[in-house]
Assembly symmetry: C2
DNA sequence: TAAACTTTTTTAATTTTTTAATAAGAAATT
DNA sequence: AATTTCTTATTAAAAAATTAAAAAAGTTTA
């Protein structure tokens, strides 16, 4: 009874996190409860200062509805975005704002037995130095590369504990806050789904163009993870007969023809072999800087740089053709680090689709560029925590008390 | 109120169609209603003779539960399975039995403006000659090749009406019974999901090895159709650099290296060019017979025939590798006409997976052969109707009256 | 400018659902 | 062999949710 009430209370808070300024009618539809019940729950939430009125919405032909928002400073989230070398940590409020500056630490994951301890220490430090009471944190969301089992809380590629113990449990026991993990590409898809280009879409593919090529899938209106959570291994589908050995051990993977690392590598090779290009002044000490430099070169009309993107883009397009055939998505979103290159991708991808896609299929599919930028993964990590929020009424009891 | 009651009544009937011999507790969990309510609904359904008691189930450590079944002869379904040349029609009861002999008519679909009329006439005839009152038919389910929009009831490849009008509406208006259509491979997947090897699976792929290669997907516990219903175009993903022109107009499609038609074609070529084989005595007038002949030859150890299957199997395996990477399914089921070849496929597919799949991924995936045989599509067509059953309370009112 | 129509909000009454208490049948344990 | 435990079934009382009715606040149309 009270249990159930808390469930629906939390559902309201969750809905208000994912969409601001909802009316009582909206909320009652979303939580599948009648209007009177929803109204009462909202009233109670306002007394507890978890929800605030937010003025009237424009009329749609009748009385204007009062809208509500979630109080942004009563609960907080810790978002963590890891790649193989660098980890970013941020604290976010209930209205998707970064409360503290995003912290960036160098934390190499491969063959690093101390990575997990370092991660935990850093998270604890960020929480402590934030000045926010610990009780106000409702969860930690972590995105990481590798084979992640979301349910069990295990990453089979990195950050492993002895006996395949759950790292979410482990971190949670130390930090004292619920912890959720997911694959980096899945979180980017989640961010696009809730706050970006895939918002409200039932069927969308989010391609994470990064040092590798990742894929997150929104299918039938929810994030699809597959049987063990490993779905979306886009970069290692056997699509090419190039004889190129991939680091995964196989031959002809999509990644051997597309990743940003490959573009940088080819740029370096080209310059070393004397190709004429604006890239000649580029340094390759920092790959992020190197990549930004190549993007700039394309924008300013450099032919060699454009060629690199064209080839990679065409091959991504060939991969997208496979996706369109199998999933018949409404929208495909290019996100992740590589999305900063923007429209550069469009032409070669379109060309690949023209060649490799049945017209009837790609006619129904649109391709868009992400607008979330490099923070997509952090936003997705926060959304991951909130997706689980209604299942954690215990946490909320503490706050309500 | 009464509307709602009928909804839950129908939900019970639906559950009993999809799984026989359920107890009251089972049903109450499945329809998400409390035990007392479920008990009352069942009682009422028994009074109306729609449900019957079916003895006690074995005890699981307490009082033995009474189990219930749906009365098999109070409602009937019409199942239709079409391929490009032949159409099969059957009448099925509520316990998945074929009530009448399966009718088979030659009905070529390509460029045949009279196909739809012929189909409707045949359906009407089957219903009329069955001797079953029309009121007892709750729906017609039709599986067909091509690009099928399930919602709108349109097949963009065959059986088209002027102005893209809905053929389900059209047929329904003439026959007087609700009509549902879907892609043939989707229906085979549906059959496997409810009554076959994919039963109860949350994530499974059903590969329809037929004259082409189809794919039906069970994702997150339901059939996945994609944005417009065209998902699963497995046979036309660009996987090969063979330069082979596919009938779809593209080059290198999976179908150019795998379909059963290709096996038959290659068998013919081989024999004509003088290859030594038991296939020499084969006639190619009837493709079904020809295919069965080749399967028999493999079983009896013919090397040439085995070679044909090996190559096709390996290439299917390469396609399956793509599926495993993208979907991380728990199970892959080989179904459709080609499944009759059984274990012949296993070895070459396994080999392809070893070469093209990340070990961690295919370790979690099992491959199974369908046991539904050639009737899978008809069973799926019936299931399609029943999936929609609870949304059609009107029909049931007639029967209950 | 008033009447008619929409949509939201409030309040009250009815209906429905769940819970709880009870009983009965069957297996496991002492 | 008797008791305990577990599951199912039945009934009545309590709780909760939905529905219905009416008021309030706007918009549109005659």
């Amino acid at each position: 009874m009270t249990e159930k009430k808390i469930l629906f209370r939390n559902k309201i808070l969750k809905e208000l996190y994912f969409e601001d300024n909802l009316s009582c009618v909206d909320l009652s539809k979303r939580i599948h409860k009648s209007f009177p019940i929803t109204a009462k729950l909202i009233e109670q939430l306002m007394v507890e200062n978890l929800v605030i009125e937010n003025g009237y919405a424009p009329s749609t032909g009748g009385r204007r509805p009062l809208t509500y928002s979630i109080q942004k400073n009563v609960m907080y989230l810790v978002s963590v975005a890891m790649d193989q070398f660098v980890t970013k940590i941020a604290i976010m409020d209930m209205q998707n704002n970064f409360v503290s500056p995003i912290e960036k630490i160098v934390l190499p994951l491969p063959d690093n037995t101390k990575a997990l301890d370092a991660l935990i220490e850093k998270i604890a430090q960020v929480i402590n130095s934030s000045g926010i009471e610990k009780e106000k944190f409702i969860g930690v969301g972590i995105g990481m590369p590798g084979f992640v089992d979301v349910q069990k809380g295990i990453n089979y590629s990195f950050l492993q504990l002895p006996n395949n113990a759950s790292i979410t449990k482990h971190i949670s026991e130390i930090i004292g806050i619920p912890v959720f993990i997911d694959n980096d590409s899945s979180l980017i898809a989640l961010a696009e789904f809730y706050f970006g280009e895939a918002r409200g879409e039932k069927n969308a593919m989010v391609i994470n163009i990064g040092w590798g090529i990742g894929l997150g899938m929104i299918l039938n209106g929810e994030l699809f993870r597959g049987h063990e959570g490993f779905a979306g291994e886009f970069s290692h589908i056997p699509l090419f007969l190039n004889g190129q050995l991939c680091w995964c051990g196989k031959v002809g993977c999509l990644e051997t023809e597309t990743s940003l690392l490959l573009i940088i590598e080819k740029a370096r090779e080209g310059i070393n072999s004397g190709r004429l290009s604006k890239l000649n002044s580029l340094t390759f000490d920092d790959i992020e800087q190197a990549f930004d430099g190549i993007v700039k070169a394309v924008r300013s009309g450099d032919q060699f740089a454009a060629e690199l993107f064209s080839k990679a883009g065409y091959n991504i397009g060939k991969g997208i053709a496979v996706l369109i055939h199998l999933f018949n998505p409404k929208k495909i979103i290019l996100s992740g680090r590589g999305a900063s290159a923007g429209k550069i991708w469009s032409a070669p991808i379109q060309q690949a689709l023209n060649e490799h896609c049945i017209p009837r299929l790609f006619q129904g599919t649109s391709i868009a560029m992400s607008s979330l930028g490099t923070q997509a993964e952090l936003i997705g990590a926060a959304a991951l925590v909130m997706e689980h929020y209604e299942q954690e009424p215990i946490i909320n009891k503490q706050i309500a008390a």
